[in-house]
């Protein structure tokens, strides 16, 4: 589904942000992207979405990302931003959810059917006509995920989906992520959440991919995590040495 081939990126020539990244994510796979601050997680997401241009090849469903394929690829990828306030720019949840389907040429009736189906699936029917500025943090995050699901993307990319949420709302978001059938790439510092939602983990450090493997294996490797300025997830801290 998603393939990075020798991808590099730098804002300034002598300070690379991503260096020679290569990996592949299969359809339906749920992959966690972890790493300390400045490791390059968000930049990697932005490159994948065509918001930044680097070197190397990025392929989505076999199509190489370039100017000509940008809109086709963006249609396949739904990106949940870290700050939901930056994602929800329409006055109400309903209008926000209608934004993408209408832009992709659906009729208003079709788009509304899709919006209703997503809201029902996530149990968010009561948010439909609420004003975005009146939602709580948890509601905003769920609404932001709903706006992306209304696009019916083939893959969902999430940047810190559990940040700034209380435990109850965090659990709701985690359950929602687990229920999504799409391919998922989740960048987060919340390793417990990654453990709960991902089968595989990519560990990044200083723009490089330092580990790629099953979630439990990587997240229980204290030495590997600490060498890359990370710590064991809380739920594993008592179980490993």
């Amino acid at each position: 589904m998603i393939q990075f081939q020798n991808v590099s990126f730098a804002y300034e020539p002598d300070r690379p942000v991503l260096q020679n990244l290569s990996f592949r994510i299969a359809p339906g796979e749920s992959v966690g992207l972890i790493g300390a601050n400045g490791a390059g997680k968000s930049t990697l997401m932005k490159l994948l979405l065509g918001l930044r241009q680097g070197e190397g090849r990025i392929l989505v469903d076999g199509t190489e990302l370039n100017k000509a394929s940008l809109s086709e690829i963006r249609r396949k990828l739904g990106y949940v931003l870290q700050n939901s306030d930056n994602q929800m720019f329409m006055p109400t949840v309903y209008e926000d959810m209608m934004f993408a389907p209408l832009n992709y040429g659906l009729s208003r009736e079709e788009a509304e059917r899709r919006v209703d189906a997503v809201l029902e699936r996530l149990g968010l029917e009561d948010l439909k006509h609420r004003h975005n500025h009146k939602l709580s943090g948890g509601e905003k995050r769920m609404a932001a995920i709903a706006t992306i699901l209304a696009m019916e993307p083939e893959a969902v990319l999430m940047d810190e989906p559990s940040s700034a949420l209380d435990p109850y709302n965090r659990r709701i978001v985690i359950n929602t992520i687990r229920s999504l059938p799409q391919t998922k790439l989740i960048a987060s510092h919340d390793l417990d959440m990654i453990l709960d939602t991902c089968d595989r983990v990519l560990l990044m450090s200083k723009g490089q991919l330092v580990a790629d493997g099953p979630t439990e294996e990587i997240l229980s490797d204290r030495a590997l995590l600490e060498a890359n300025r990370m710590e064991l997830p809380f739920c594993l801290a008592g179980r490993t040495k």
């Binding site: 979405l49 918001l51 931003l81 306030d85 006055p91 209008e95 934004f99 832009n103 992709y104 696009m151």
Partner: protein
């Protein structure tokens, strides 16, 4: 809640006012927009000494306030910053135009004084009409009607995004002023020495947020064309509203209603 947060709240309140359900709220936005534009044109067409003729035009906003159920004090509260500026426009007229225009018993009233009052009233009426339009019509619907009236799409999108970005910028300002006040206890306002860096930071932060928002739009298929929510169609009720409004304005423009009323009362 600091001043900026209050400003944000007020911005949101305008959307809430527009979401109410009165006979005026239910009218087609295009009819309301056209009536408002016509009203403003008629107001501006009055001469600088035609104060009495202009005063009668107050009836229209008063009627709309009644029909829409929007309290008048909200209008004056929301306009409290811009109103003094508008009212100050003709402040110097009495000094330049000293010719006596009329006498009220022993009191001589100069042309400058009348033209000052006329200018003030014009400003007030235009602001009230604009406020009523905004308070009874959702901003998106307003933009949709502008498109329907063939105003260029780019211009309308710019208007819509500016409206949205005012909120974004105010949010940033709210966060920054709060952070500043927490580290400057007892200080009133912002120190002059901090203005430059404060404004610079505000600009950079707003630009960052605006870029994120724009990225979010692009990633959801935005291509310089907004899909506005469908508007209520222009129905018979809207035709009647527009026709009656136009008739009312034109009658008040060309028939000296105040003079006739005065003559009637003096008889």
């Amino acid at each position: 809640m600091n001043k900026m947060q209050k400003a944000l709240r007020e911005l949101a309140e305008m959307d809430e006012l527009a979401a109410q359900n009165s006979i005026i709220h239910r009218l087609c936005p295009t009819a309301k927009l056209l009536a408002t534009v016509l009203y403003i044109a008629v107001v501006l067409s009055f001469g600088k000494y035609q104060l009495s003729g202009l005063a009668v035009l107050l009836l229209w906003p008063v009627l709309l306030f009644q029909l829409s159920g929007i309290p008048v004090h909200i209008c004056f509260y929301k306009l409290r910053i811009v109103l003094p500026l508008v009212l100050a426009v003709g402040l110097f007229n009495p000094f330049f135009d000293r010719a006596i225009l009329l006498r009220l018993g022993p009191l001589a009233v100069s042309g400058g004084f009348i033209s000052m009052l006329t200018l003030m009233l014009k400003g007030l009426l235009c602001l009230m009409a604009s406020f009523l339009l905004m308070a009874t019509t959702n901003f998106d619907s307003l933009c949709a009607s502008l498109r329907k009236l063939h105003i260029p799409g780019m211009l309308v999108t710019l208007l819509l995004l500016t409206y949205r970005y005012v909120g974004v910028m105010t949010e940033e300002l709210a966060v920054m002023t709060e952070a500043y006040s927490l580290r400057a206890p007892g200080q009133k306002g912002l120190q002059v020495s901090a203005w430059g860096s404060f404004l610079g930071q505000l600009l950079l932060r707003s630009m960052d947020r605006a870029q994120e928002l724009y990225a979010s739009m692009l990633l959801r298929g935005y291509h310089e064309h907004f899909h506005y929510a469908p508007m209520k169609p222009f129905g018979p009720g809207d035709v009647v509203y527009l026709a009656l409004s136009a008739l009312f304005f034109l009658v008040l423009r060309f028939v000296p209603a105040a003079q006739l009323l005065g003559n009637l009362l003096l008889r």
